[in-house]
Symmetry: C2
Subunit: 147 residues, 2 copies
């Protein structure tokens, strides 16, 4: 592992650097081709409000986190940053890389004018996010939709 690893924004070329492989440590990625990946990067850029940050080591993406900024009517037509899909390669855990990613997203949320950032996590990850200044708030609920 290099001395210091930096956080940068996801680029279309990251398909070849294992971006999807690191996401595979979080959940099912499925068959995402280069074309699908590049199209989704383009679509998210066109929409705006998406921030995906990555950390690379030796030419390979080893951590990532995303945020989508929601435009609200409440709080004076303010914004909220939804942090999503935070994952660090198992071989790189315990090095505060996840924290670096969250801090980068919080800085982006501030720059975008968000009044808060929120995220949902497993009970076991609460203490990790507390280190990034987040506090426990409500209950996340889900409904999976049959296609």
């Amino acid at each position: 592992m290099s001395e210091e690893l930096h956080v940068r924004t996801l680029q279309a070329g990251d398909f070849d650097k294992g971006f999807l492989s690191v996401l595979g440590h979080l959940t099912t990625v499925g068959d995402v081709t280069r074309e699908m990946f590049e199209e989704q990067v383009r679509r998210r850029d066109a929409v705006g409000g998406y921030h995906t940050v990555v950390i690379e080591d030796g030419g390979r993406i080893i951590a990532t986190a995303s945020m989508v900024v929601e435009l609200k009517f409440i709080h004076g037509c303010s914004k909220v940053g939804h942090i999503e899909d935070v994952v660090v390669d198992p071989g790189y855990r315990g090095k505060r890389l996840g924290l670096k990613l969250i801090e980068a997203l919080i800085a982006a949320a501030r720059a975008d004018g968000c009044y808060k950032v929120i995220l949902d996590c497993a009970e076991g990850n609460v203490s990790f996010y507390e280190k990034a200044g987040l506090v426990r708030k409500e209950v996340q609920m889900v409904r999976y939709l049959d296609r």
Copy 2:
């Protein structure tokens, strides 16, 4: 109260129908002028992926709920619907109007190709969302940002 109240999409003209007043039963709305409201409606329409539904009675908005559709890389570059800002005027509660709004948003999420919808709620509202087929999943965490 009219015999049957229908769910429809938010329109720019709803500023005059008390849309912001009903949101005021949920949280702080702040000083949102007509211009700010109409600009936010336009901006959300331009971005796409926003769904705000309302129920009107006697020319006044008495319930609303919103959803923002997030473009993901995971699950085959799928989508997730984030349900937000669900509120029914206190005088109209217990009439299953909230449920009607959630069902409309779930239908929109399906139409948009979302593989799931998620939301965060207070402990006391868990049983309400269970009626709409959602189940308890994770812990919501928040960090408020100083401006």
